[in-house]
Symmetry: C2
DNA sequence: CCCATATTTGGTCATATTGCCAAATAACGA
DNA sequence: TCGTTATTTGGCAATATGACCAAATATGGG
């Protein structure tokens, strides 16, 4: 049972929300880091090199887009990719960049 | 000879630029329309339903990202997809949306 | 219960985005 | 060359974004 693709204005708005979530260097870096496994916010903050509050807000954007999920264990919150196919985007994006 | 993927800050910034270009409902709609073939700005303006100047600026964003190319023939400017793999994004984006 | 730690939330500020309109530019035809 | 058509450009106003800091909110340990 595959989903039926529709093309209403809302459909494109929802899709754009997902793409937009990936349209920031820090958030792309977060997705790349999470491709290697689950990470806590503290680790991700090190990777990004910005304030933890800033990283937390980037993670919220990714979570609301449906790209990552969080899991609180003790004091830490661990994030991981929800839908791994977003990693395929990197291939095509690099193809776009190579072609220009 | 495949390109070597590097992960500098600039690499992520460039990738994010491509994703960001796709992170707007009108621009996603433009890509979708161009997936069915080359189109002039006048046709695309009809599809989007905004001012032609607005559509022209969206097309410039896509062009600068390396996603589309333009071809002026007479009075009209025709746009087409430069790297078709961006169409694969739709599948995964819809998977993300279905999962949330 | 109190303290330390991890994370989120709220506020603020600077900057970027996106829409429209008007004007500039380019190309064709009479 | 003049007028028409297609497109781009520049400017403006409203809104959104992203960074920081400070404060609020868990949670676990002693």
């Amino acid at each position: 049972m595959q989903p039926i693709r529709t093309d209403t204005a809302e459909d494109f708005a929802r899709r754009a929300q997902v793409m937009k979530a990936l349209g920031h260097p820090s958030r792309l870096r977060l997705v790349d880091e999470l491709s290697r496994g689950e990470r806590c916010v503290c680790d991700l903050t090190q990777v990004i090199g910005h304030d933890m509050s800033t990283v937390s807000k980037h993670l919220r954007v990714l979570r609301k887009a449906g790209i990552v999920v969080d899991d609180k264990r003790g004091l830490q919150v661990f994030y991981r990719l929800k839908v791994p196919c977003v990693l395929n985007f990197f291939h095509c994006v690099d193809a776009v960049l190579d072609a220009r």
